[in-house]
């Protein structure tokens, strides 16, 4: 299996997913938390700051407007107090006074007039023809006649343009008279209009009925009814008397309202600004934060993706290398077992060779005597030659056995009859078993199906297990039983000995590489791990059951497809 295919393996896929998830969570969580907290703190403090700033601004403007109104009132009060009604009833004198006021304050004062107790304007100075105008029914007159001074709401009046008036009441000969001055709406309005912030921030004034007292700079979409006035007055009120409220207008735009009462509570100076405009800096900051989070998020996502992919690729590589190493260990083990086998076989060859050498020596001994022709010696020659031939044949058989094993060291998959392999193993080990006083028995099921696997590998596994069994029985002899049988779709091969058994502490570790109980130099500790590797590779199972002093049994289960 190559690396590409491996990456599609569910195990590696889930590993990639887990890594991706962890990296994203660990990286994004602090980013979002920190940005969130900072943004929240910033937004709260910006809100407070903006409100404080607007509150102060509105307060200052209301004081400014109040101051303007008071100043104009004082101008008129001074005039009413300084001159008698007779002097003021002189139209020429009144005109001069108006001219003096206009010189001093610009076009703030539009006109002046003296109104008697019947509500008739006795004298008038100004651009309109309002002499003898009757104000007895006008609302302002009814209020003005009752108090020392009075400032009216903005109204259209007789002249038909918006204006408001300031009146001062004086007594002459037991009868009240009123000096009234018209304040130019334009002049007044500019003071309110001056209050402009940002793109949408502007101010206007409402009276207690909710009517405009100034010209709003922008279209105020609210009906500007009494309810609007009330709702602004019901907003949050600071100790300076500034009201804060937020409302959506008819178009759904969220507006910010800051208001303050002026003219002794008659009028309300209202500052209105589109919320998005007022908080444009905050919105901007939010956008930057969002941009950073998004960009960071994307970078993190890409990094996490690349990182986890690369890491998993590395892991796959490492796993592949590990498998390759296992494969190499198996190869080495194969060589080692071949070496062991070779040593055993060399020993087996030694015996017939020794006999042949002795027979040849015997023939030589007879020849030295010089008696070739005697019948007895001739028979002896023939016997010796026959013996040499027999022993030579024995050598040849042993060598052929070794060759057949060496030839099959390649791991090609072939149809293997397991019983034949078991019989081979038994014959390989027969000699050794004989000298260790071990009896090898076999209980092989007849007509087992052939099984597709490497002949060498299964031989190696069985030889290894057999050698282990023989090792365990070396000291005192015993029995080894080899069994083969079919269980469903599985071929079960077992090798059981009645040796000393494996202590429980070691049982779990016997398949670990390099685990050995043999003295240094005797065992590599690779045998069983190689067996395990081979059986796993084939797709089988190997397990062990062992009871101390009763014996050990290895079971190998091999999957087999029935070919018949």
């Amino acid at each position: 299996m190559n690396q590409e295919n491996r990456l599609k393996d569910p195990y590696y896929k889930s590993l990639t997913r887990k890594m991706l998830f962890i990296v994203i969570v660990v990286s994004l969580a602090p980013l979002i938390t920190v940005s969130g907290i900072i943004l929240n703190r910033f937004s709260v403090s910006y809100n407070e700051k903006l409100n404080a700033h607007l509150g102060e601004l509105v307060l200052k403007h209301s004081q400014n407007i109040d101051g303007f109104l008071l100043e104009k009132l004082n101008n008129i009060r001074f005039m009413a107090g300084a001159f008698t009604v007779e002097e003021l009833n002189n139209a020429e004198f009144l005109r001069n006074n108006l001219a003096a006021l206009q010189t001093e304050y610009g076009s703030v004062f539009e006109d002046l007039g003296v109104v008697n107790d019947k509500g008739i304007q006795v004298t008038y100075a100004g651009p309109f023809k309002l002499e003898k105008a009757r104000y007895s029914d006008a609302e302002w007159f009814r209020k003005a006649i009752k108090s020392d001074y009075f400032i009216s709401d903005v109204f259209l009046g007789l002249r038909g343009t918006p204006h408001f008036i300031i009146t001062v009441r004086q007594m002459s000969n037991g009868k009240p008279w009123i000096l009234r001055a018209t304040i130019s709406f334009v002049a007044f309005n500019s003071r309110v209009e001056n209050l402009r912030i940002g793109k949408t921030g502007f101010a206007f004034i409402l009276n207690s009925k909710g009517e405009f007292q100034s010209k709003p700079g922008f279209e105020v979409v609210h009906g500007k009814s009494y309810s609007f006035y009330e709702s602004i007055k019901s907003g949050i009120k600071t100790k300076d008397g500034v009201f804060f409220s937020e409302m959506a207008d008819d178009s759904g735009k969220e507006n910010l309202y800051v208001a303050s009462l002026i003219k002794n509570g008659d009028w309300l100076l209202i500052y209105q600004q589109d919320k998005s405009d007022a908080f444009s800096d905050l919105t901007h900051a939010k956008q930057i934060a969002l941009f950073i989070i998004l960009t960071g998020g994307i970078i993190i996502l890409i990094t996490a993706l690349l990182l986890s992919k690369r890491m998993v690729a590395r892991i796959v590589q490492a796993d592949l290398e590990k498998e390759l190493m296992n494969q190499q260990v198996i190869e080495i083990g194969k060589l080692a077992s071949l070496g062991e086998l070779a040593a055993g076989i060399a020993h087996e060859i030694n015996n017939p060779v020794a006999i042949m050498v002795e027979e040849a020596g015997w023939v030589h001994d007879i020849m030295e005597d010089g008696q070739f022709s005697s019948k007895e010696n001739k028979d002896e020659f023939e016997r010796a030659l026959a013996q040499i031939k027999t022993q030579g044949t024995r050598c040849r058989e042993i060598i052929q056995k070794l060759l057949s094993f060496a030839r099959k060291t390649d791991t090609c998959i072939e149809d293997v009859r397991i019983n034949e392999v078991i019989n081979d193993v038994i014959s390989f080990c027969a000699q050794r078993a004989k000298f260790s006083n071990v009896v090898i028995k076999s209980k092989l099921q007849e007509n087992l199906p052939v099984i597709s696997l490497s002949h060498t590998e299964i031989l190696q596994v069985l030889l290894n297990l057999m050698n282990n069994a023989l090792d365990s029985l070396e000291k005192r002899g015993g029995n080894i039983t080899l069994t083969s049988l079919l269980e469903g779709d599985e071929m079960v091969i077992s090798i059981a000995d009645d040796g000393p058994g494996i202590p429980r502490a070691n049982l779990a570790r016997i398949f670990d590489p390099f685990f050995t109980t043999k003295p240094v130099g005797k065992g590599t500790g690779l045998g069983l791990s190689i067996c395990y590797g081979i059986i796993k590779k084939i797709g089988g199972e190997i397990d062990v059951r062992s009871v101390v002093d009763a014996g050990t049994t290895f079971h190998i289960r091999l999957p087999c497809r029935r070919n018949d």
């Binding site: 020993h347 015996n351 060779v353 002795e358 022993q391």
Partner: protein, 141 residues
């Protein structure tokens, strides 16, 4: 000086027989035993001077047999016959009191030398013992 008497112990019949023949031809009094147990029995009845012992034996193994022999007759010299693969057993045998070891296949002349060496040693040992016994006897006397 007595004649050299040898006991050959080995479980491979063919090998045992031919070696017996060759040694007999050289005028050595030699008997054969096909197992450790049989060898012990023979040694108990008619003790030989030297035992040529194949270490690979069925039943009682070579080392075991060697120790038994040394128990019954400490003066009986033992030469071990080993294959290439079990030099360790040779070492163990030497430690257990064997006179020497020989590797199969053997050269018959070398075998003869070793047998004679072993016999010589045994004879010297016996002479020493006899001398000591004589001394002991005279002291008592």
């Amino acid at each position: 000086m007595d004649e050299l008497r040898v006991l050959l112990v080995g479980d491979e019949r063919e090998f045992l027989e031919i070696l017996l023949k060759r040694l007999l031809k050289r005028g050595i009094k030699v008997a054969g035993a096909s197992s450790g147990e049989e060898a012990i029995k023979i040694i108990k009845e008619t003790p030989p001077d030297v035992v040529l012992l194949d270490v690979r034996l069925q039943g009682m193994d070579g080392i075991h047999t060697l120790r038994e022999i040394k128990k019954i007759g400490p003066l009986v010299e033992v030469i071990m016959l080993t294959g290439h693969a079990n030099l360790e057993i040779a070492v163990e045998g030497m430690e257990s009191g064997a006179f020497d070891y020989l590797m199969k296949p053997t050269d018959v002349d070398e075998l003869l030398y070793k047998l004679e060496d072993a016999f010589k040693r045994k004879t010297i040992q016996e002479q020493k013992i006899r001398r000591l016994e004589k001394l002991k006897g005279s002291e008592r006397g």
